[in-house]
């Protein structure tokens, strides 16, 4: 019988434009990789605060965008606002995964942490403040189907957040690899 499981891998990014190569070890009885999803967490705010302070002195530099503009608790402000109503989502990085058995990446994605235009989905204007944690969609993994007999996944991650803001931001990207295991 097949059973589902998930393998969690964390990547810690500290420097702007940092590129990380990593491996994800799967259990020996893994048959297939069936899905991939990701999450993220800001570890150090100090850099962000420092940068926000630096922005006052030097206005042309954009401040890092980590969440949507409507999150009151964020000390981070949206830097790059378009002139129109809608705002561009902040790209955090690029993530690619490769199976050891087949050539080419089997998974490649741009990593975003939040939908900057989430509030435009609510036309009720009821005064219920729109946040990711109140109005967010249910998250599900992206489905893939890859043989996993060699039990090693090669991974590659490239920071875009720090690079675009020209500041070192310490954050963590968590990668969830869903697998099918033979019982």
């Amino acid at each position: 019988m097949m059973k589902e499981g998930v393998i969690i891998t964390k990547i810690n990014i500290k420097r702007q434009g940092e590129r990380k190569h990593f491996q994800i070890k799967l259990p020996n009885d893994t048959k297939f990789i069936i899905g991939v999803e990701y999450g993220g967490r800001l570890i150090s705010k100090s850099d962000v605060v420092k940068f926000a302070a630096a922005e006052i002195a030097a206005p042309p530099i954009k401040s890092p965008v980590l969440e949507t503009w409507h999150t009151a608790i964020d000390t981070v402000v949206v830097g790059e606002r378009s002139k129109g109503l809608f705002k561009r989502n902040q790209l955090v990085g690029e993530l690619k995964l490769q199976s050891s058995e087949e050539s080419n990446w089997f998974y490649s994605t741009d990593v975003f942490v939040a939908d900057a235009n989430l509030s435009y989905g609510d036309f009720s204007n009821a005064g219920f403040k729109v946040n990711d944690f109140t109005h967010g969609n249910k998250r599900t993994e992206e489905f893939v189907k890859v043989d996993a007999e060699s039990t090693i996944i090669q991974g590659w991650y490239l920071d875009a957040l720090g690079k675009s803001q020209k500041v070192d931001i310490n954050y963590e990207v968590t990668i969830y690899v869903w697998i099918n295991v033979e019982e």
Binding site: I8, I73, F133, T134, K138
Partner: protein
Amino acid sequence: MLKATKKRFDIKITQANSTVSDTFELDKNIVKVHGVLVTSDKDDLLYYRGTQKIEINKEEFFPDNYESKLLMSGINVAPKQRYYDLGGVSPGNGRVQIVYKDLDDGRTVFTAYRVSLYLDCEMEDEL
């Protein structure tokens, strides 16, 4: 006859960067667990800071460090679709364990909060 029922279990997080573990017992007449959902009275803290492990009948369904935000559903999700689908798990001994870990995140300030674990279950009407 089988009927659907929802169960809620709460844990309190009173210290930043702490791990809280608790085990709950399901009713004996529950025959299947269909879905799981986590919420909180301060959902921003749960969303940004929370990770958890969930076991049912000593079987691990979500491992350590599985982010809570992946098991949350906002009000934009239809009520009938809010639970994470487990596909009808047998509850076995009926013990549900949650090991919740709170971790500092640059965007939040800690204050004590509650984490609620909801289970979408199917139970026998009469034993």
